[in-house]
Subunit: 215 residues, 4 copies
Amino acid sequence: MRKTDRSVGFEMSESMADPRADSRRTAILEAALRVFSRFGYHLTSIDHLAAAAQTSKGGIYFHFPSKQALFLALLDRAASQLRARVEAAMVAAPDPVAKADAALRTVLHVFAAHRDLARLLLVETLGAGREFHQRRLQLQDEFVSLIRQQLDAAVAAGSISPLDTALAARVWFGALNEVVTAWVLAERPGTLEEVYPTLRSLLLRSIGMLTEAQL
Amino acid sequence: MRKTDRSVGFEMSESMADPRADSRRTAILEAALRVFSRFGYHLTSIDHLAAAAQTSKGGIYFHFPSKQALFLALLDRAASQLRARVEAAMVAAPDPVAKADAALRTVLHVFAAHRDLARLLLVETLGAGREFHQRRLQLQDEFVSLIRQQLDAAVAAGSISPLDTALAARVWFGALNEVVTAWVLAERPGTLEEVYPTLRSLLLRSIGMLTEAQL
Amino acid sequence: MRKTDRSVGFEMSESMADPRADSRRTAILEAALRVFSRFGYHLTSIDHLAAAAQTSKGGIYFHFPSKQALFLALLDRAASQLRARVEAAMVAAPDPVAKADAALRTVLHVFAAHRDLARLLLVETLGAGREFHQRRLQLQDEFVSLIRQQLDAAVAAGSISPLDTALAARVWFGALNEVVTAWVLAERPGTLEEVYPTLRSLLLRSIGMLTEAQL
Amino acid sequence: MRKTDRSVGFEMSESMADPRADSRRTAILEAALRVFSRFGYHLTSIDHLAAAAQTSKGGIYFHFPSKQALFLALLDRAASQLRARVEAAMVAAPDPVAKADAALRTVLHVFAAHRDLARLLLVETLGAGREFHQRRLQLQDEFVSLIRQQLDAAVAAGSISPLDTALAARVWFGALNEVVTAWVLAERPGTLEEVYPTLRSLLLRSIGMLTEAQL
DNA sequence: TATGAATGAGCTTTCATTCAT
DNA sequence: AATGAATGAAAGCTCATTCAT
């Protein structure tokens, strides 16, 4: 719950501790998010990043040891901020199914407001090559675990019948991933968030959770 | 046995009509599938492809105007052969839901037997740059449409209650995609196909199709 | 005795076998000798070499895997051609002391005619950094051994009194090296070869070989 | 023991006159000797030097206008201190030949105790580019002159027969240079000083100085 | 058809030097 | 005096593409 900002804001800025320190580093990360998510890892050159961050090639290398390290730092930062948002939303939810629901809703919410973030995490990380696959897998598994834990808890609580929660969590994640990815890659993307109620119904039903009335 | 399994045969060879013509072109495509799916688009050089296809750089350029065009041709070929398999399976299915089920099962079946194909279509296409995203999206949408049509037909036939079939189809595809992608990226992949029954249950339930008994 | 050419010619051209094959490779080596010996290893860029050889950066890299490998190839080539000349001269000499004398004279002779070669072997190889020191040491030790063997033979034959032939050979080499190096580095170098008679006297006397009459 | 040997002390510290002034400058020079002689001119970066001298990039640039100037200052300092040692030893020697002998012995002595100094003056100076070749040549010529003057004096005094003292001095220097350089570049260097008696004999004999009895 | 030598734009990375603080 | 963030020229190397043979 590091970030208490309740708005959709998903700023890349560092902790409030020192206002201008790291400002260049932060500017680079912000620019990198923009550029990497627009052009992808390979098409983005260091010169490109430097221009976008209004600095120089050397400036980039002063703050990050390599292009790969910069991309990874960006990934970690993005992931940890998304994670914080999701965890905050889950804390506020009353029961396991509501927590899982909150997690999904929050991800959709954040991605809807930050298409570049969605593109970075869902598309470019897969596209950036071998080195990043492991990291992606790790982040993904983390999220899938989060969901799975809630499903397990729901089973334990008797809210839903026993089922393969590992697979169900993966299915949920895949569904969300696909919906967001299609939106990210669309030429003229519509509104992402308005699909949520329907998506929610489908997913809850998939685990035998939704009654006719709840629809 | 994966590669020699006759029942899942998914050879890249052209139609039997002209036995030797295009054999070089075909050899190049086959080698390219192997190499691109192993190393990705950017790490694969024309020299690399030429060596794998036992030809020369010039040989590649005689058959394909550019690296990009070769990759695209490979993509189209892979997609159309996958499509043919899926359509054949759908024809044999008795009703809409069975057809949709057959489509998913076939995709899983083919990918299970051809991990390189899965990797090419689901992973490497994202690393190859913007132009390929479009194509990937198009293939995906095509498949989603295929599913959607069956769901619509099922609704029309009264087999399932009305629902947002576009989204449901996308969710189905996303779930499948996620399960396959995780398997493709895993260090030590397990057996892909054995998850199908459970996956099927989840997806069918998501559209309100599966009763307790059917499980 | 690979080269039978008795002139001072010290061409870089390959064996007479295939007249134009390897012509580009040879041209690169010739240009590299010129440029490296003029500017030194570090100040010489690949672009510089490419321009001097009238080819392109890629052209260089087609024939040599790296700058270091090119420099090493140049070194080996130069050394082996110098070695051939020296060996040929030694074969023609009647006795050990005459052979040693011939070796020194030939080196001076060749270097006098090819200042760039002298500079490459004596100056730039030391200046090019760690990686090349070992190779330099090896080439040098080879030459020192050559001299030493003759001194040992002279001792065995009773031509000279026993002495530390290893050190004497090294001293001879050092003396030669210094004389050539001073000439190589001089702004306005004089004639190198005319010092030989005097140098010869000094060195022969150092091993107790020269009588008053021989002076 | 090499570094702490009081009898061969060759500290880089400034004159005892001003105890703390220039201490930073001196510290930089001392660190630079260590680092340059270990890694060579090109592989040594300003950052590297700053770290070794426990200061910062800016600190280096406050005391020296450029990397080249720092290297040159180091060279001059090293040379002048070596020169002082040599001159002191020569003053103490009774006659010209003994003076020349003392010069050589002292150089060997100092280098034996300060391998880094030997490496700097004899090896790394060649890797640092054209400007340094000149300086090296100059230092060398200075030393050769020193020897030559003694040889001329010895000829004038009738101690030795007339000879080309310029060449003889160069030969002496070359012999010394070679012995030291081989030792500097050796992987497992032996004891440098123990070769001196034999080297001395060879050199003295080369100018017709040493009788059988003196050996 | 096929080959492979050649091209050159473009890449990531390094590092001497500057300068606001 | 000293610091270290920032600059940008230049380096070594890669590789898609071309073309004479």
